[in-house]
Subunit: 243 residues, 2 copies
């Protein structure tokens, strides 16, 4: 049975907002980088899978964030895989302060993509490789919740043309850019107040260089709902719920 | 007499573009972070100056970039102050690969701002403190060059509304965001080719949350010229010259 992995970080100047606290997207980025490193070290990262024309694709994620650390504060990312089914592998994270106390908890669900066929790989076929990496510890929060289409009321729409700095090695908009677009729509006062929240996000469709994204932000009873669309396709659906 | 300072880095996933090489703005960000750390360690950083209502403001910068390292490549930032006059302090950088060979050279010029009065501080008044930090080594490239207003021919204009993720602790658009906006305007093929270039940038005026920036990109004989304006003010002027 595998063990949890740990990665050390520090809040860098580029991570903070005007309150000098780490932006939520920066904390999520640190977690996703830890995922990449952990998969790489354990031999089932994108590098290794690339040779077989397969890659991991983030399908859904949920984060519960209690507080955001100040610039230059050290913290650790704890990460582990808790299980998988045919479609999705579940990777968990806790962000730990210097006393080992968790200030953020994340559950992420990943599909494996066959790059040439553009289809999902049945993860049960990889059981022999996958089982070695499963840690016997449950997810720290409820898995990503169901997100319904927006009602379209009290909604504000922004546009963003996909540019060089937005895309990943596949020339698709990268995960963190979508998350930054969403947090850019939230009221600045709420972000400044460092209010605890739960954030759920689903990645439904790719968008590519030169496309124009429509970012719709809808006020809802307990927070905000979001859709990011390119042409006919909803690429991302998300919600922020204040606690 | 002071010594040069060194800071270790590694190209992280968020630093790379679709070629898996570090984006130029990420390399510049690593240099600017090293400047912040070095000033902090030596006791004349923004933290210490803040108690006297003073802060360093980047006025001009030039970078010559030969090649961009791949993801997960370690490199070092070498930085030193080479001198100052009444208005500007000159800080230099070289980015060094694992063999100690420089792949980028940067000269930056900083003014000191009195935050309440919104005026520059005469640096000759700080000579006693400043002199201790000057290193007896020249700048590695020519200082930031003169940049004339754009002719306005063959120009393309983009718009960008300043959002939460764009601003620094002063609620002004941060340096790196301006640089990202400029690189987002360059032809993707030129960036993909990892072509060596010189980049000059002048910071002329602040822009703040909610303002709409106009980013003008003009093709010129040896590269591109840029202006970023908010309302009546030109905030940034820049040029990229291929080598």
């Amino acid at each position: 049975m595998a063990e949890k992995s740990y990665f050390s970080h520090e809040v860098e100047p580029q991570d903070v907002d005007f309150t000098l606290r780490a932006k939520a997207p920066s904390l999520i980025m640190a977690a996703l980088n830890a995922a990449g490193r952990d998969a790489h070290v354990k031999g089932f990262g994108v590098d290794e899978l690339g040779t077989e024309n397969r890659t991991w694709v983030l399908a859904r994620m949920a984060i519960e964030l209690d507080r955001r650390p100040l610039q230059y504060t050290p913290y650790r990312v704890e990460t582990w895989i808790s299980g998988y089914n045919r479609a999705l592998s579940t990777r968990n994270f806790r962000l730990l302060d210097e006393n080992g106390e968790a200030f953020a908890r994340i559950v992420s669900q990943w599909a494996m993509l066959d790059i040439e066929r553009r289809t999902s790989v049945d993860l049960s076929l990889l059981a022999a490789a996958h089982d070695r990496f499963v840690v016997d510890a449950p997810s720290p929060i409820d898995p990503p919740c169901r997100l319904r289409p927006l009602a379209g009321e009290a909604a504000v729409t922004e546009e963003h043309r996909v540019r060089y700095g937005d895309i990943d090695f596949n020339r698709h908009v990268n995960t963190i850019r979508y998350i930054e677009m969403i947090f850019d729509c939230l009221p600045v006062e709420a972000l400044a107040a460092d209010r605890p929240f739960r954030f759920d996000i689903h990645f439904l469709h790719e968008s590519t260089l030169g496309e124009t994204l429509r970012i719709v932000c809808e006020e809802q009873p307990e927070g905000f709902g979001f859709e990011i669309a390119a042409g006919e396709h909803v690429c991302v659906r998300a919600s922020v719920r204040w606690k």
